[in-house]
């Protein structure tokens, strides 16, 4: 178990290093408190998928692939298409990710990304009906986490949104008319902060996440609308902290939308 010992010592050293930097108002990679790491979005890298995007956020890499297939609507929404989001913490991405069905972290990730997209009305589900009550288009969003270096929420959300804007509904393959671009009306952006001591940091790296007490993700859309919030971890926020985070999320979300998604 000497490895575990080493790990534990290393993590203690990292903690002190991060905290001492924060006490001087600095992050160890030199970023400001409200600054994202470098963001890179490559769309269309999986041509066989109906839409795809690889997002690199610092060293974190998430590949989103979209498949669109005909299927049955839900009984209570016969006149709307269906969207569903799945996240796989692929074991290539981290020594701690194990093969197998999604664990609670993957479930939370998928559900938070899903909520932001769904509640924003990003996809015009009403335009994805082939025959009301019988056949609609089902949009499968699959998130493949390939390299884990912190902040999977924002990287995954960006990847999903970018991939959706890249998506063409393959109607011809199913003899259901001509292919058409997936009707997209909004561009939701999620921003995730963690709290370390008294500090609240945007876009935590893996080392920062490892020592964070609390996490919060806020997903916003055009016009300053908020569509999803998820507080994570077992630490707490004050009401004041929460209000500031919400406000920052709207501002920063708009910047990300302008710079990377328009």
């Amino acid at each position: 178990m000497s490895t575990k010992l080493t790990e534990s010592i290393m993590s203690e050293i990292k903690r002190e290093y991060i905290e001492s930097a924060l006490s001087r108002g600095e992050r160890i990679d030199g970023r400001g408190m409200d600054e994202f790491r470098e963001i890179k979005i490559e769309k269309g890298i999986i041509p066989r998928a109906e839409g795809s995007a690889m997002v690199t956020l610092g060293n974190t890499k998430v590949l989103a692939g979209i498949k669109v297939e005909p299927g049955e609507p839900f009984p209570d929404t016969p006149d709307r298409g269906v969207m569903t989001t799945n996240a796989e913490l692929v074991p290539v991405a981290s020594p701690t990710f194990e093969p197998g069905p999604p664990g609670e972290d993957a479930v939370e990730l998928a559900r938070v990304v899903d909520r932001g997209i769904r509640e924003s009305g990003m996809i015009d589900l009403g335009a994805l009906v082939v025959e009301p009550g019988e056949k609609v288009w089902i949009v499968f969003i699959d998130l493949y986490i390939l390299d884990y270096d912190g902040n999977l929420f924002d990287a995954s959300s960006l990847a999903a949104v970018a991939a959706l804007t890249d998506t063409v509904v393959p109607a011809e393959r199913w003899d259901l008319g001509e292919d058409f671009k997936l009707p997209v009306t909004k561009l939701p952006v999620s921003t995730t902060f963690v709290k370390i001591g008294k500090n609240i940091l945007l876009d935590p790296s893996r080392d920062e996440e490892a020592i964070a007490q609390a996490r919060i993700t806020v997903t916003t859309t055009e016009g300053g609308m908020i569509n999803a919030v998820q507080k994570g971890l077992s630490g707490t926020f004050t009401m004041d902290e929460v209000r500031k985070v919400i406000n920052k999320s709207i501002v920063i979300g708009e910047q990300v939308r302008e710079r990377y998604l328009r």
């Binding site: 609670e104 939370e108 559900r111 609308m225 919030v229 077992s234 707490t236 929460v242």
Partner: protein, 245 residues
């Protein structure tokens, strides 16, 4: 969250069940009703009927999930098959996996976990009948069950949900409001310090609406906390009396 033909707010500003925007549904709490559990609580909140039971601290199994520095608080949120209109298949779905996680986190913030390293405190939340707001009702009941089990905590945990229906921010959504409303904001707090331990939101709200909803839920949580304290007092006074007989 789709607005059907249903009208959720009446012309006089009241809601379909007659409540004002900032009015809670009726809440009843009972502590310590189960024989076997180390602690238990039963809570009725509107149409919600929720049972919470606590076992532990006990040895964590499997061992590799032990935390050498503290107890793990492991909540499991579960809905009875007959708790909803269409029978729910037994077993966890993705929603209950997520809710179990956020409730575990919220309770962990309150429990003095460092007192029981390597152990697990199991909290089982059974939704016997569901009527919107079950996660917060479950959290509130779970915190009572922890107190009943004598688990040391720095505070109770309590919460409330606010939301938005037909453009109006309201407190404590019922099932129809949850189904057809525009947003849902479950909030859990530690009442002594006002710290936030659970906070989720989904729907469509402006910053102002969300802050209003948070305030509304916060204030209601404080009110519900007084009911918690009363429920605990009742059971201990009853025990004291019985002990004195």
């Amino acid at each position: 969250m789709e607005n059907k033909d249903i009208k959720l707010i009446n012309e006089d500003g009241t809601r379909i069940d007659g409540r004002r925007p900032d009015e809670l549904r009726p809440i009843r709490m009972k502590v310590g009703l189960l024989e076997r559990a180390d602690g238990s609580a039963y809570l009725e909140w509107g149409g919600n009927k929720i049972l919470a039971a606590v076992y532990g601290p006990r040895e964590m199994y499997p061992k590799h999930q032990q935390d050498p520095a503290r107890a793990v608080v492991r909540a499991r949120y579960s809905m009875a098959p007959f708790s909803v209109d269409e029978r729910k298949r037994p077993g966890p779905d993705r929603r209950s996996v997520e809710l179990s996680m956020v409730i575990s986190n919220a309770l962990s913030a309150a429990v003095l976990t460092e007192e029981f390293p390597r152990t697990v405190i199991d909290v089982f939340i059974e939704v016997l009948q569901a009527d919107a707001g079950t996660r917060i009702a479950g959290l509130t009941a779970a915190s009572l069950a922890l107190a009943d089990a004598g688990i040391p905590m720095r505070d109770l945990v309590v919460g409330c949900t606010a939301g938005k229906i037909e453009g109006v921010v309201v407190l404590d959504l019922n099932k129809e409001e949850d189904n057809y409303g525009e947003a849902d904001v479950p909030l859990g707090i530690l009442p002594r310090t006002g710290e936030i331990v659970l906070f989720q939101m989904d729907g469509m709200m402006t910053e102002e609406e969300l802050c209003t909803a948070l305030d509304m839920a916060y204030n209601a949580a404080m009110e519900i906390h007084r009911m918690q304290v009363k429920a605990l007092k009742d059971v201990y006074m009853k025990e004291a009396e019985e002990g004195g007989e």
